[in-house]
């Protein structure tokens, strides 16, 4: 099997993760579930970064750094998401985005 084929398989997996993540983020009402969707999409990003390093540019550390940064993004966004959720829950006993629609127009 050629490296390119494997790369394409791996990237397809990554694309699938992104696609599922996007679907989740767009379809879920619960804030936490939306965050999960993003995590999943970032999961795909992470995989893509790794694939880029291994199959295309192993000599440079940049792609590895992409993976690291993706991990950081996942972590901090999760943390921030929890904080935001708690804040609005405290203020309005709401954890669904559809219930936060006071601001519009």
């Amino acid at each position: 099997m050629t490296a390119e084929l494997v790369l394409q398989i791996v990237l397809t997996v990554a694309a699938a993760l992104v696609g599922v993540g996007v679907f989740g983020a767009l379809s879920q009402q619960s804030i936490v579930m939306i965050m999960m969707g993003f995590e999943l999409a970032l999961n795909g990003v992470l995989l893509g970064g790794a694939a880029a390093w291994y199959f295309l540019a192993p000599q440079a550390p940049d792609a590895q750094m992409v993976v690291v940064v993706a991990l950081v993004v996942m972590a901090v966004e999760m943390a921030m998401g929890f904080a935001a959720t708690i804040a609005i829950y405290r203020a309005r006993q709401v954890d669904m985005v559809d219930m936060a629609t006071e601001l519009q127009g």
Binding site: L26, L103, Q104
Partner: protein, 627 residues
């Protein structure tokens, strides 16, 4: 250009023109406080002007005041050459006499300062016109004359109709004046300058355009066909104004101008013919109109146009000396008649022929003067117009033109006869008096004096046709060699005039109802020429354009918005609140578009996501497709 041009001469010219103008402006600015001194001051001024005119006529000065600096002839240049010399003296003289008449004729409680202010201004404008050597100064004087005539005709603005007659006069003459503007442009284009005398040398088409412009301007000012009707309305003005306007000024100005530019007319060929025919036809048609009038001043007005028609005809056929003589003689004749008519109007309160029955017999002095003048008008030998008219007709080449001219001459005898038949008749009672205003029943000696002086000239100026006088006149005018009438022609015309006159008087004596029939004919209404000047088409056009302006142009701005609205309104919800006005429909359309633009902002996050994702997808496609 003959004559000397000295500083002294220039000063004379400047004072000649400037004195009446300044005096006039001073009177106008002082207003009613100057009413008492206005008359004497005006007489004094015109007397001085007359003296200066005489000096100028002998001195032939030139004067140039810088005006437009870019091209030659842009200055205000006045110069007195032969033609001007004659006209200057004429204008000053008639001005003086009519001023004297006005001082006597106007009621003491009238706004005399205003009257004499405009009167003097008018005289100044006419003096300027006849000395003008460049287009700018000609145009200035020409237009000022029109405007002051407006003010003079509308002098009694408190009475309905007076000012509107002035408006008509001003607008008609101004419509013709447009020709002068065009001519000025053409002069500049054709000669590179604005000097009047250079015009015949202009390049091809520009020369034609200049000639056409001047012709139109002159015909309008002189009330020639088809722009004659304003003259009828101009009779609304006070009688001294009529006397001045219809004799040596205003109406005469057109004739003068054509005489002045006769070389240009001749150079183009067609313009001369056009002028000749316009003059001849005016003489004929307006003569007929005059015959049909019931109002003395209207009759005189129409006859003025007719008589000036001969001057125009003269300019057309190249009979400059004859035209000049006709102009001068007619001035005296017509001034005398208007003075008489005015004096009668003041005395008897009417100017209807019916009311003036026997007027000449009531005050003999004035009556005699008027009779002499009327006879002169009729062309009866040996009075002035007989000779001058023949002098003009002598220059006519074509048979048709000559026939028309002779017919017109006959008509002048007819309408003069109408006047004479009335005023010389045995007086009736006073039942027709005071139809138009309350008469004073007295004729001031000054009026009689003025009329008498004018009558003397009306009678005597026939000498202008005597070869011994005519030849120097031709030399003075620089047109030596123009043909003079033969004895046969003189006899023929004299006979025709005398015959027509007596015939008319006799006919009217026998069949007074002929007059009534004439007065009911279309001729009495100036053959509908007034309709030509109707403002209605212009007003209609104006209203249409105004509607267009409001409905279309202004809305076009809004229409842009409306179109946008139709596209945007498909989904936009109705929003009733009004936002401050603005260009309403644009605002409305924008508001709808704005509402549409806010609709994505639903407040629902997942819709934000979906929209953002969709938008990004479109952008991705864009990126991939457009490279």
């Amino acid at each position: 250009m003959s004559g000397t041009s000295t500083a002294g001469g220039a000063a004379v010219l400047a004072v000649l023109v400037g004195l009446p103008a300044l005096a006039g402006v001073a009177l106008l600015l002082t207003g009613r406080r100057a009413d008492r001194i206005a008359g004497p001051l005006a007489v004094l001024t015109t007397t001085a002007a007359f003296a200066l005119a005489a000096v100028a006529a002998g001195d032939r000065p030139q004067l140039s005041v810088p005006f437009l600096g870019v091209v030659p002839g842009g200055d205000l240049r006045l110069s007195v050459d032969g033609l001007s010399a004659v006209l200057v003296v004429l204008v000053a003289a008639v001005g003086l006499l009519t001023t004297v008449f006005a001082a006597a004729d106007l009621p003491a409680d009238a706004a005399r300062a205003r009257f004499f202010g405009y009167f003097l201004l008018f005289i100044a404008a006419m003096l300027t016109t006849v000395t003008a050597a460049t287009m700018p100064v000609l145009l200035v004087a020409w237009e000022l004359m029109g405007a002051t005539s407006y003010a003079l005709i509308g002098y009694r603005w408190q009475e309905p109709g007076r000012l509107s007659a002035g408006t008509t006069a001003f607008l008609t003459t101004r419509a013709a004046d447009l020709g002068l503007y065009v001519a000025a442009g053409a002069a500049l284009a054709g000669t590179g300058g604005l000097v009047l005398a250079d015009l015949p040398a202009a390049d091809g088409g520009w020369r034609d355009l200049a000639a056409a412009g001047l012709l139109v301007a002159a015909l309008g000012k002189s009330a020639q066909l088809p722009l004659s009707a304003w003259l009828s309305g101009a009779m609304q003005g006070p009688s001294p104004v009529s006397a001045l306007l219809h004799s040596a000024t205003m109406v005469a100005a057109g004739g003068y101008l054509l005489l002045r530019v006769q070389p240009l007319l001749a150079a183009t060929g067609w313009a001369a013919a056009a002028a000749a025919w316009a003059g001849a036809l005016t003489a004929l048609v307006l003569g007929a109109v005059a015959v049909a009038q019931r109002d003395l001043k209207q009759l005189l007005a129409a006859s003025t146009a007719a008589q000036i028609g001969f001057v125009v005809l003269a300019a057309g056929v190249g009979a400059v000396s004859g035209g000049t003589a006709q102009l001068v003689a007619h001035a005296a004749v017509k001034a005398a008649l208007f003075v008489a008519a005015g004096a009668w109007l003041t005395a008897y309160g009417t100017k209807q022929l019916a009311g003036l029955r026997g007027a000449a017999r009531r005050h003999r002095g004035l009556g005699a003067a008027a009779t002499v003048a009327a006879l002169a008008l009729a062309g009866v030998p040996p009075l002035s117009l007989w000779a001058t008219k023949d002098e003009v007709l002598a220059g006519v080449d074509g048979a048709a033109l000559r026939v028309v001219g002779l017919a017109a001459a006959v008509l002048s005898a007819v309408y003069a006869g109408r006047v004479l038949a009335v005023v010389l008749a045995r007086p009736a009672g006073e039942e027709f008096f005071d139809e138009e205003e309350r008469g004073t029943r007295r004729i001031p000696p000054a009026s009689t004096g003025v009329a008498a002086v004018l009558a003397v000239f009306a009678a005597g100026l026939g000498v202008l046709a005597v070869p011994a006088v005519a030849e120097p006149l031709k030399a003075l005018l620089g047109v030596v060699g123009e043909s003079s009438p033969t004895v046969g022609e003189l006899v023929l015309s004299g006979g025709l005039a005398a015959g027509a006159l007596t015939g008319t008087v006799a006919l009217l004596h026998r069949l007074p109802e002929v007059a009534g029939a004439l007065e009911r004919s279309p001729l009495a209404g100036w053959v509908g020429l007034g309709r030509l000047l109707s403002p209605r088409p212009a007003m209609a056009l104006a209203r249409v354009l105004a509607t267009l302006d409001d409905r279309v142009l202004d809305r076009a701005v809004e229409g842009v918005g409306a179109a946008a609205r139709r596209t945007a309104a498909a989904a936009a919800r109705v929003d009733g609140s009004v936002v401050d006005g603005a260009v309403r429909a644009t605002a409305e359309a924008l508001r709808r578009a704005g509402a549409a633009a806010r609709r994505p902002q639903t407040g629902l996050l997942h819709q934000y996501y979906a929209q953002a994702a969709a938008g990004l997808g479109v952008l991705l496609v864009l990126l991939l497709v457009v490279r």
